[in-house]
Symmetry: C2
């Protein structure tokens, strides 16, 4: 991926300021900004997307995942009570005399529904598709209401932490492969989060609500999160302060060891299980060679209801960091975790299938790479055309059509102008502006002599070859370049 590389410091600053503005302010050119909060993807966008998705999908395949797809909408009841406080953001379809349907909100719940419905007990799959959330663009910045997710999940009963470690390995491979600069992955465990809540004195009925508040710590300051917990969610101030002590803690495997000694946490069975698993996880991450990318972070809570074990979130750092400067948090670009109870919610007998997975935040990655290319002034070719069929003469449409048929039928990507009598200059200009490398030129003289001229657009060199060698000669040149 030669397009992707490190972004200069100034570009990051510009990028960051744009990421923090609502999307409509940062849209340009062919991007539509309708009030419904979606947008069209222009050919320029599509080229960048295709490159990034190719890299992501090839990583998923490298780890043995199968492809899968589910419909854009699900029965509304399938999606309700899965997403915590975000449930209100679902797009419902109008009742037109059938079932109540909603557009899918993520790819995880449809996957769990698929496993349960087909009684699949074991599956490693990836899924790339659109999801829809009715978020207000002015509140959640830099996001659209329709966006693409790239998910990888491992379903099945296995020995602990091996699939979980692989998910983290995959995130590392993808973020390294995309050359987005330095990153790290925050890791925690829902059982540790809940254990922490219990240890701090949060009533169990408030666990998920407080979890949602904690999840906002990457966007809000602690004092605002604390205010929400106390004023809006009725938590006692001293309980909030106890939580405040914990959520400041982050570190490597040594922090895991330290938490085993924590007088409050170590009393909690759930938290202990979580800590045991994290310890084992770090062991595997070391063998995968990625332990130094991982940070055990007690402030990580993840908003969605369905997580039951390990949770994680990858964060990009501003890069390169100058001496004496704090690395700047550019935001989450991948996340996931373990959800052992979700499939059971769809099974009539409640049979569980443990799952762990990850989702790559490709929209943010698309945006970062697009901005970087803009900053560098990189031009993207939006077509792959290899050869242009031209003529300097009038009344040569028939010959051009015959010639281009020969190229197409040989699998060569070819274009011509849809005009009876185009000017040669117009034809050559089209090649230059769209980046087509070769031109084949036919005229009366060439026709009489049974030859064709091949012109290199870059060097402007022209050579004459025998007409019957045309396809072979072009294939040779294309394979050389």
């Amino acid at each position: 991926m030669p397009l992707l590389g490190l972004l200069p410091r100034r570009a990051w600053a510009a990028l960051l300021s744009q990421l923090l503005r609502p999307p409509c302010a940062s849209c340009t050119g062919a991007v539509r900004c309708q009030s419904q909060g979606t947008r069209d993807l222009s050919p320029q966008h599509m080229v960048v997307r295709e490159k990034i998705l190719d890299l992501v999908i090839s990583c998923f395949k490298r780890h043995g995942a199968k492809g899968m797809d589910t419909p854009a909408f699900e029965l509304k009841e399938t999606l309700t009570e899965k997403y915590g406080e975000d449930s209100g953001l679902m797009y419902d379809l109008k009742d037109q005399g059938g079932e109540l349907l909603s557009l899918r909100y993520d790819l995880t719940v449809p996957f769990a529904r698929y496993l349960a419905m087909n009684k699949v007990k074991k599956m490693k799959r990836y899924h790339v598709g659109k999801v829809w959330r009715r978020e207000s663009p002015s509140i959640v910045q830099g996001r659209y209401r329709e966006f693409c997710q790239c998910d990888f999940d491992i379903a099945g009963q296995f020995d602990p932490m091996i699939p979980d470690a692989e998910c983290l390995k995959i995130i590392c491979e993808i973020l390294s492969g995309l050359q987005l600069g330095d990153f790290f992955i925050k890791v925690n465990d829902r059982r540790i989060v809940d254990g922490m809540f219990a240890a701090c004195g949060v009533p169990e009925s408030k666990f998920r609500a407080i979890c949602s508040s904690i999840d906002k710590l990457d966007k809000m300051a602690w004092k605002d999160v604390r205010h929400e917990m106390v004023a809006k969610k009725g938590l006692a101030p001293e309980v909030a302060d106890r939580i405040g002590d914990y959520v400041q803690c982050h570190g490597g495997v040594s922090l895991v060891e330290q938490m085993f000694q924590d007088p409050r946490l170590s009393q909690n069975k759930q938290a202990l299980e979580g800590l045991e698993d994290l310890k084992l996880l770090f062991e595997y991450l070391t063998l995968f060679g990625i332990a130094e990318k991982i940070s055990f972070d007690l402030s990580l809570a993840r908003g969605l209801d369905y997580y039951t074990g390990v949770i994680y979130e990858a964060v990009l750092l501003q890069t390169p960091t100058q001496a004496g400067e704090e690395p700047l948090n550019v935001g989450s670009v991948a996340a996931g975790g373990r959800y052992d109870g979700l499939v059971g919610m769809f099974d009539p007998k409640g049979h569980k299938v443990p799952c762990v997975g990850l989702s790559i935040g490709v929209e943010r990655i698309f945006y970062i790479v697009e901005q970087r290319m803009k900053t560098k002034g990189e031009k993207v070719r939006t077509t792959e055309t290899q050869v242009f069929v031209a003529t300097p003469q009038k009344n040569f449409l028939q010959e051009r059509l015959k010639l281009i048929t020969e190229l197409w039928d040989a699998g060569i990507k070819a274009e011509m102008l849809y005009k009876n009598n185009p000017k040669l200059l117009t034809q050559l200009h089209y090649c230059e502006s769209t980046g087509i490398p070769l031109v084949v030129i036919i005229g009366e003289q060439e026709l009489k002599e049974g030859i064709i001229k091949i012109r290199s657009v870059a060097s402007r060199e022209e050579v004459a070859i025998k007409r019957e060698n045309l396809v072979a000669e072009i294939q040779k040149r294309l394979s050389e370049s």
Copy 2:
């Protein structure tokens, strides 16, 4: 595409009978059949789809098309009054306090909206995406309510019939490439259809309604279509009978010549323009080498409102046809036409951008290819894993993790079992059942000697190589196979 080839005669009969049954009756395995008329795509489906879409997209790119995408939903007003009688089949979103939105019904209207909104006057683009139609599965057989479309369109003011001919060339390339057996493309022109209606005495206010009836001729007998026109749409019986004479006509370019002489049609200015264009079209199709695939067919009307010129529909034939047998119509697998007025409907000043395009009916093609593979008993690999990491010994998880990391980091597609102590037989069985060609085996002896065993799953041969040569050796073997 070695998977695709001719289908034996008996298989076609079985296939046809299934195509004519509602989809729920023909679903098997991992396919979901919910009453909302959608389905999940299993990994097996996805492999077939990927192959077919790759071929389709590479043809579109060969003809110089750019990629593009639009949101799944549009403002409802964008979609209304574009689809004729089918408009009632649109999925509306619930009014949740924003604009009124509907799921897109095809990819053509969003493309026209995109061109107008961005003032694009010229563009050759392809678009692969889902569309949604609330069709009753029991009425329209063999269809789902969510399905994939593959569209190619050329927008812009060009010399007549050159882009139109290229669209037909593309359909031929794709259908030939997919090896679906023999096919032909019906061609007509909306101006000839309208001219025929005028010549037969259809009141102009009934043109589109009668057009919709004619469009059903591939699914209904003439007498039923005639009944609909007379009894439901109030057409005079003698007018219907005059139409009946025309819609029986089909043939090659000679039929075009013949229609120029038709006493009624030749009086009609519109029809004459259409005939002139068809004549030119056939000239270009001959140069493209596809004229013998094209049939001028006066029964072709196309249901959608927006067509203004040439229209076409590709039909598969049963293959191979035995002597003395009628070729059997398997149904439309590609269609399209010219729509010069659609973009202008979205432009505030009504500025027109002439367009012509095509849509490949990939769902039906997916189904045909899947059935053919089933008939032939072809097995599909749903993963691309190249190497499996195995051990015959207990307590070797650490070594397996280190080994697989080496492979992943070298870009090799590798898997292992997520168990601390799997049995060797289980591991080898996994490779056989999933089609993984190579196994690398590590045990105590190997570790001590600094070697690794490589096993070919097919031949069961094992060779020992030096540990440090592992990646190079595997890459060599993979490039040879």
